[in-house]
Amino acid sequence: MNRIGRVPLHWYDEYDHIGYDAHGKKVIKTASAEGGNLIDQALANADNKGKDRFMIHDALNDKNITLTARQLELIRRIQGGAYAHPEFDGNADYIDYYSGVNPEISGLNSNRDLPKAKFQPSKWEKMQVDDLLRKLANGDISMDYLTGKVRDMNDVHKNNKNKEKPYMLWTGDEEDELDRKKGPQHIAAPKLPPPGHAESYIPPDEYLPTEEEIEQWKDLEPKERPHGLLIPKKFPNLRSVGAYEHSVRETFERCLDLYLCPRIMKRRLNIDPESLVPKLPKASDLRPFPTAKCIQYNTPYEGVTPPIIRCVTASPDGKFMASGASDGFVRLWEVETGRLLRSWNASKAALSAESEAEGSNGTEDTKPVVCLEWNPNPSHHCLLAAVGKCAVLIATGTEGQHNAEITAALLSSAKSGGDVSSAKAAKAVQWVTMSETETPVSSFAGFSGPISALRTKAEMSKVRWHVKGDYFVSISPKAGAPSVLIHQLSKGNSQQPFSKAKGEAQAACFHPNKPFLFVASQQHVRVYHLVKQAMVKRLISGCRWISSLDIHKSGDHLIVGSLDRRMVWFDLDLSSTPYKTLKYHERAVRAVQFHQRYPLMASASDDGSVHIFHSMVYSDLMRNPLIVPVKILRGHTIQNRHGVLTLAFHPTQPWIFTAGADGKIFLYQDI
C-alpha cells in the first residue's frame, strides 16, 4: 500500500516508483501504470460489459479494481441525480408520533409494566387442550366431538356397541357409603308370599275347594279370594298342566304395586299374647273368699215360675238372712239351716198405706220388694224394705234378751206414726202405721211384722241405713226434688235435704264415720256434707247409668256399678276421677258390695256371674289399694235377660248370699 499521503502523483512521474509502503520500501510502478494503458482498460471494460463487471484503475495504489453491481448502481443513481441508496424511501408513510394512537408502535409507552399473563401462553388452555388430546389419543372422544357435531360421546359409544358392558360395580367398600347416604329411609317392597300346598299342581285332596266354594269365589273380588286369581285344581300329571292364564296379569299387577303402592314402615308387634295378661298374685294366697255354693234357700211359690228375688240382706249377727221377692213378700231365713222362718207381705202393707192416702182401689196387684236392708246396728232388729212408693219398716222379732227393749224403744215412735217436723218433708213423706203384728221368732221380742210404711210421692228404688242404724236414706228417682229423703227412726222424723233435684238419683249411701252423704245420679256421684249442707265433691264416674254404689268401711274408697258393664273404684283422697275402671262383666252390673270385715268385694251382673275380688286397702296413703279378682261364682241362670240381681256379704264370715231372676238364693262359702 502506498503511503505517500496527499502529494500529487505527478511528482513521481520521472521515477520508476510511485511512493513508499509502510516499511519505507519503494513501491515500484507496474507496466500497466504507464500512460496509454487507458485504451487497454476501455477495451477490457467493453469485453466485460455483458458480464456485469466494470474495472477501473487505481492510480495511487497502481492496481485494478472491479466495481460490484451495487457500486455501479450507486454511481448510476448519483449520475442520474437520484438518492444514492436504492432502499431509501423518499416518500415514506406518515407516522403520527405525538397523538398516541398506537402506543405500542409509537414506542412512547413501551416502558410500561405489562402483566405476565399478557406475554405468557395460558396454562389453563394448555391443560384443557392436553386433556382433550389425551382423550383423543385414548379414543374417548372423536374429532366429531371436538368439532361439535356430537354433544355426548355416550351416544356415539352406544351406537358403536349398543349396550353397556358390565363391570365390577360393588367392590366391597360400600358399608361406609351406606352411612353417608342421605334422604328418606328406603322401604323395601314386601316380597310376594311363597306358594302354599293349595297352589300345587297336585295338591293334597283337603286343599281342593268344593264346588260351593268356587261358586262363592266367583262373587268375590280376586283380592278377597284366598288364592287370588288362582283356583286350586288337581292335574293327573305334569304333561296335562298348561300355561297359567293369569301369569302375565299377575306379574303386571306386581309391577304396578311396586311403583304405585304407597309404602309405610309398620312395626309388627311380635309378642306372645299371654304376655299382655297381667300377672296376678295367686288366688289361693288371698284366702279366704267364697268359693263354693253350699246352701240354697228355696222360696215357696205358686205357679210355674218362681218369683224374682230382687234383694237379700243379712242380719248383723249373721244368723238370719232376709230376702225380698217380686211377689211382694219379705222372707226371713235361718242362715245355717236354710229354714224359712217368717214371711211378711210387704206389698200388702205398702198398698194399704198407699190406698189410705188416695182412698181409691185397695185391690191392686202386688208390688215387688225392690230393696231390702237390715239395720246394721246389732242391737236394732228391724228391716227396711222399698216396696212401691213406700219404705216399709219391719220388725224382725229376732232380738235377744238384751236388745229387745232397745229395739222396742227405737221402733216406738215409728209405731206411733212418727212426726215429721219440717213442713217441706211433710209434703213428701207420710209415716203410716201398721196394726197387724205377728209372733216374733224369738221369745223375747214383743212383736214382729210390718210396723210402719213411709209413703212418698213416687216409686221408691233404694233405701240405705246409716251405720249406726238410726238414720236411713230413701230414693224415689221420679219424685223430683224430694227424691232423696233422710229419715230418723228414733224420732220418727223425715228431712228433705235437697230443694232441687240434680239429675235422677239412682242410689245413695252414708259415709261410715263422717257426716257425708253420697248420692249417685246416672253419671255422677255427689258428696254432700250434711252438717254444712253443701256439696263437697262431684265424682265423675264415666259410666252411662249407675246402678249401685257402696262405700268401704274406712270411708275412703267408693265402688260404683253401672248398667254399661263397668265397675268403677274411686279413691276419695286421690281425685274425683276413677282410680280404676274395670269392665269384665258381659252384661249390666246390678250390685256391688264391700265386705265389712274381710278385704273382699263382689259384683253381680246380668250375665249370671258374681265376681269376687280381693280388695286390700292400706292405711298407708302411699300405697294403692290392691284389687285382685279371685273367683267367679256361677250358678244362677239367666231369665228374661236378667241374671244375678243382688248380693250380700255375710257380716262376719267370708260368705256371700246371691239371688237372681231365677228365683234362687245361694250361699257361697269358702271351702
Partner: protein, 557 residues
C-alpha cells in the same frame, strides 16, 4: 305458647308432595315421570299421622325423593331425547330423508348402571331384591314379542335367564323347587339370601289386552342392567368371564343351562357346606330326560343336586342307550315300545320325583312315581307345617320314611279320652266331695283304675283352676291391652279354624275313600271300568278281527 310453625316448614307439606305437583315441579310428562319412578325406584309413601280431609286418597311422594329425580342424568336425557325427536320429526316432515338419517345417528341414549349402584349400595341389597327381576326376566323369555316388548328384549331375557340358570346349577345354590299351577317356583340361596322366582310353564302365554306392557318393559329395562351387573359380580367371583360367549346365549338355551358349561365350571367353584350336602343327594345318578319332559328347570335342578343329565335332542352329552343312566324321566301314559331295546339298568319315573327328592333331601322310593301311576300330592317346600299347625299326610309319611320307620298308609287316629265322663264325675266331686271319698273306700275292686281316675281328676281340677285364674287375670287387662289381646286371639282362632277345616276335610275324604268298594281309589276304579268296557267292545268285534292288530293282545290273554 311456642312459636307458630309455618305450614311449609314442617308437617305434611314440608315432607310430602302430590303427584301432579311433582310433574309440575320436574316439568316432565306423566309418561316420563312414570318411567323415572320405575327406573329410579321411587314409590309413593303413606304419610304418618293425619292427612287433611281435602288431601285424603291422594298419593304422596317424599319431597326429597322428587328432588333426587330433579338431579337425575336420565331426566336430562329424556329432555334431550324429546328435542331430538322434534328434530327428526321436522326433518321427516319436510321429507328430508338424508337429514333425518344423519341426525338419527346421534340419538341420545342413557345408561342405568349409576342407578343400580344408587339403589343397591351393597351387593347383598341387589341380591335380595332379585325376586321380581328374575320373575319378570323368565316371563319375558317366555312371551312372544309385540309393540311394547321388542324381540330384542325377549332375546336378552333368554340370555339372562340362561346365564342365571347356569350360575345356579354351577354354584349348586338351588334350595327349593315346586311345580305350581302358575309355573315352577325355584329358590336359590346366595350369600344366605333366599331368592325365589317363577319359571312359567313352557307354553304360549295368554296376553291380556288391558295390560300396559310398556310398564313391564320399563321395569325390564332396569332389571336387565341390574341382572347384568349382578351376574358379572357372581361370575367374576367364580373366576369366569361374563358376558358368557355368544354360543351359550344361542338358540336353545331358553331357561336352561348347558351341562357342558356346568362341567367346565364345576372344577373351579368352591362350594359351601350346604351346597356340598345338596350335591351329595343325586351324586352318582344319571338322569335322562325324555323329549316330552320340560328340560330347562329339571336339568338345572338335577345339576345343582349333583346328577349327570342327558336329554333327547341336540347337544346331549349322554345318549339314550348309555348304560350309566339310572333314571329315565318320562311323562307319558305308558312306555314306548322303543324303550324295550334300552338297557334294563334304568328306572322309568315321572319328573315330580326329582322335585320331591330335592325338597325332602331324601331319595324317595320310586314306586309311587312310576310311569302311568297316579302321583302322590306335590307339597310346597315353603310351608312350615309346624307353624301352620297342619301337616299333610304325605309329609308325615315321608318324615316317617326319613326316620327309618315303616310307612303306614293309615294315619292312626287318636282315641278320644273320655273327657265327658271325667267332667261329669268332677262336678259331682265338687258338690259332694266328702261323699266321694267314702265311696272310694267302699269299693276296692280295681284300685288301679281308681287311682287313674283320681289322677285324671286332679289334673282336670288343676287345669280348670288355671283356666279360671287366666280368665280372672284377663278381666284385669287395660282397655288397650284387652283390645290387642282380642285381636291376637281372633287371629289365632282364624288360623285354628282353617286347620280344623283341613282336618275335617281330610277325615271326610278318607271316609269316602274307605266307603268305595274294595278300597280302590277313584283313579283305579276308572281304569278298571275302562278296561271292562274295552274288553266288552273287543269281545263284540272278535269275529271280525282275526289276526291283525289284535293278535298281540290275544296272545297275552
Amino acid at each position: 305458647m311456642g312459636k307458630k310453625q309455618k305450614s311449609e316448614h314442617a308437617g305434611l307439606e314440608a315432607t310430602f308432595i302430590g303427584r301432579s305437583k311433582c310433574i309440575k315441579m320436574l316439568q316432565v310428562t306423566i309418561k316420563d315421570f312414570r318411567r323415572l319412578c320405575i327406573l329410579k325406584g321411587i314409590y309413593p309413601r303413606e304419610p304418618r299421622g293425619r292427612v287433611p280431609g281435602k288431601k285424603k286418597g291422594q298419593t304422596f311422594y317424599h319431597i326429597k325423593d322428587i328432588r333426587a329425580i330433579a338431579h337425575e342424568p336420565v331426566l336430562e336425557k329424556f329432555r334431550e331425547f324429546r328435542s331430538f325427536m322434534k328434530k327428526i320429526r321436522r326433518a321427516a316432515g319436510r321429507n328430508e330423508k338424508d337429514e333425518a338419517h344423519r341426525k338419527n345417528a346421534v340419538c341420545p341414549s342413557y345408561t342405568l348402571h349409576h342407578l343400580v349402584r344408587e339403589r343397591y349400595p351393597r351387593f347383598v341389597d341387589a341380591i335380595s331384591d332379585l325376586d321380581d327381576a328374575l320373575t319378570l326376566t323368565y316371563l319375558f323369555a317366555a312371551l312372544p314379542s309385540n309393540t311394547a316388548i321388542k324381540a330384542k328384549m325377549g332375546a336378552k331375557a333368554k340370555t339372562l335367564a340362561a346365564a342365571w340358570g347356569a350360575y345356579c346349577s354351577t354354584a349348586g345354590c338351588i334350595t327349593k323347587s315346586f311345580i305350581s299351577v302358575k309355573g315352577v317356583y325355584l329358590e336359590a340361596t346366595i350369600r344366605d339370601v333366599p331368592i325365589r322366582w317363577v319359571v312359567p310353564h313352557s307354553f304360549t302365554q295368554f296376553m291380556p289386552e288391558d295390560v300396559d306392557y310398556k310398564v313391564m318393559a320399563t321395569f325390564f329395562e332396569f332389571y336387565e342392567t341390574l341382572m347384568n351387573f349382578v351376574l358379572f359380580k357372581l361370575y367374576s367371583d367364580l373366576g369366569v368371564r361374563y358376558p358368557l360367549p355368544e354360543i351359550e346365549g344361542g338358540e336353545e338355551v331358553k331357561g336352561s343351562t348347558t351341562s357342558i358349561l356346568g362341567a367346565n365350571l364345576s372344577g373351579l367353584t368352591k362350594l359351601d357346606d350346604e351346597a356340598v350336602k345338596r350335591r351329595r343327594l343325586f351324586a352318582g345318578l344319571t338322569f335322562y330326560l325324555s323329549r316330552e319332559v320340560p328340560r330347562g328347570y329339571l336339568e338345572l335342578l338335577s345339576l345343582a343336586y349333583g346328577a349327570n343329565v342327558g336329554w333327547e335332542g341336540a347337544n346331549s352329552p349322554i345318549s339314550a342307550k348309555d348304560p350309566s343312566i339310572t333314571h329315565h324321566i318320562v311323562d307319558r301314559p305308558k312306555l314306548l315300545s322303543s324303550y324295550d331295546s334300552l338297557p334294563k339298568s334304568r328306572e322309568f319315573i315321572q319328573p315330580q320325583w326329582i322335585l320331591d327328592c330335592t325338597n325332602f333331601m331324601f331319595l324317595l322310593p320310586i314306586i309311587k312315581y312310576g310311569v302311568g301311576k297316579p302321583l302322590p300330592p306335590h307339597l310346597s317346600p315353603w310351608v312350615d307345617n309346624e307353624e301352620e299347625g297342619y301337616t299333610p299326610s304325605y309329609a308325615i309319611e315321608i318324615n316317617k320314611l326319613k326316620n327309618g320307620e315303616e310307612p303306614t298308609e293309615e294315619v292312626e287316629e287318636e282315641e278320644p279320652v273320655d273327657v265327658n265322663a271325667i267332667e261329669a264325675e268332677m262336678q259331682k266331686g265338687v258338690e259332694e266331695s266328702e261323699d266321694d271319698d267314702d265311696d272310694d273306700e267302699d269299693d276296692d275292686t280295681d284300685d288301679k283304675d281308681k287311682k287313674k281316675i283320681k289322677k285324671a281328676r286332679a289334673a282336670k281340677i288343676r287345669e280348670r283352676d288355671e283356666k279360671e285364674a287366666h280368665e280372672l287375670a284377663k278381666s284385669m287387662m287395660g282397655r288397650k291391652a284387652a283390645h290387642l289381646y282380642g285381636r291376637m286371639q281372633h287371629g289365632i282362632d282364624k288360623k285354628q279354624a282353617k286347620v280344623d277345616g283341613l282336618e275335617s276335610r281330610r277325615r271326610e275324604a278318607k271316609h269316602t275313600k274307605e266307603k268305595d268298594e274294595s278300597g280302590k281309589s277313584f283313579g283305579k276304579q276308572k281304569v278298571e271300568r275302562l278296561k271292562k268296557e274295552r274288553r266288552r267292545v273287543e269281545d263284540e268285534y272278535k269275529p271280525a278281527l282275526i289276526g291283525g292288530t289284535m293278535k298281540k293282545s290275544k296272545m297275552k290273554r
